[in-house]
Amino acid sequence: MTRNLDNNQQTWEDLARAAQAGDKAAYQTLLREIIPFARSVLVGRLANPSWVDDVVQEVLLSTHKALHTYDPQKPFKPWLISIINFRRSDFLRAYYRKSHKKETTLESLDAQTIYVTNDGIEGEWKDVENALDDLPKKQKRIFKMMKIEGYTAKEVAERLDMNESAVKVSAHRTMNKLKQLLGAS
């Protein structure tokens, strides 16, 4: 079901009012219509798209618990957005509290899959990978270690038995080359 934004707000207020009066159908419609909106708010604010539905689920439960605090005389959307942001913060807090307890070595860092790759930017990431493939093997290795895996220039130099400033120069040149290949201004 698609509605334009202005109609949506008016409709949600009516639906919420009806839901508060015990109208099951209106409540079901309201909850169903909240989902795409909550997803659209959350998708750009969570690094991993698979988290979105977890938070949406919390948002639905919270809407259920807090519906008595909604005043039908006021807009519904700000009320809902406050709940969405609150549940998102809660989710991230719980996630990072757990993740800090896990030991991760730099070699096994899954930053690319968790923090970088995202459905919305998968194409861009592939372009970067393709551009990197066009570079000489050593240059590519240095760039990946420094810019993706998070090693310092000193650590890379030690691992590859190179001079530190040579490593920095190589990474800098690779960055310029990638900008050129990917058409960045």
């Binding site: 839901a19 508060q20 009066a21 015990g22 109208d23 099951k24 159908a25 409540y27 079901q28 909850l31 169903r32 989902i35 539905d53 977890d54 949406v56 689920q57 639905l60 439960l61 919270s62 259920h64 618990k65 807090a66 519906l67 008595h68 605090t69 909604y70 005043d71 039908p72 006021k74 807009p75 700000p78 009320w79 957005i81 406050s82 709940i83 942001n85 609150f86």
Partner: protein
């Protein structure tokens, strides 16, 4: 409510089977009013129990003292209203009201600074004074009742809620102490009037998320 991961459709069916019947929409004023009545009665009882300060007949008619009490009362009222408003997820679109108790607090801090300018700080000779327990006693019921009342709502800003609850209760306790203790010594006021409120603030802040979890 039991939830299954990512099964949003069944969750909707489950929730819509039992729509929350709302007889009366949550109103902050309706929450603050019973609190004020309970607290006014309680504080009157506590002050009666502790006894009014000896020089009450003199100080009560001093304009500055009256101004201080009026200021504390207004801080308590506005901060408790803010705490109640914070029980609504978006505060009903009136976030600006948080500025009112904050500004009044700034005036109060300025007033206290002016009071104590030029006064010497003396370390209290006693490790314990009945004023310490009196300050805690004045906070105990007001904070417990306010915590219970605001839990009827659903806050999305638990720390701000804790701050407003504390500000409200501290203003009342401070006012109560001014009516029952005649000491003007900074050391005494700091350690036995102000310190209990700081301890309470630390405890409530540490527990804010748990207290207002929903």
């Amino acid at each position: 409510m039991k939830k299954e991961p990512h099964n949003l459709e069944s969750l909707i069916s489950e929730l819509s089977d039992q729509p929350p019947m709302v007889k009366r929409v949550f109103k902050p004023a309706a929450l603050v009013l019973p609190w004020l009545i309970i607290v006014a009665a309680y504080l009157a009882g506590v002050i009666q129990f502790l006894g009014l300060r000896m020089d009450i007949d003199t100080v009560f008619y001093q304009p500055l003292f009256q101004f201080e009490l009026a200021l504390l009362g207004t801080i308590a009222l506005t901060a408790s209203y803010c705490a109640a408003s914070l029980s609504i997820p978006d505060m009903g679109g009136r976030r600006w009201i948080l500025a009112i108790p904050a500004m009044l607090l700034a005036v109060f801090v300025g007033l206290m600074g002016w009071y104590f300018t030029g006064e010497d700080f003396h370390m209290p000779v006693h490790a314990w004074h009945h004023c310490f327990s009196a300050a805690l006693l004045m906070c105990f019921v007001p904070i417990a009742v306010l915590l219970l009342l605001v839990r009827k709502g659903n806050t999305t800003r638990p720390y701000m809620m804790a701050a407003m609850t504390l500000l409200s209760v501290s203003a009342l306790a401070w006012g109560g102490m001014r009516l029952s203790c005649a000491s003007g010594d900074i050391g005494h006021i700091f350690f036995f009037h102000f310190m209990p409120l700081i301890i309470l603030a630390i405890i409530i802040s540490a527990l804010a998320r748990r207290l207002y979890r929903w």
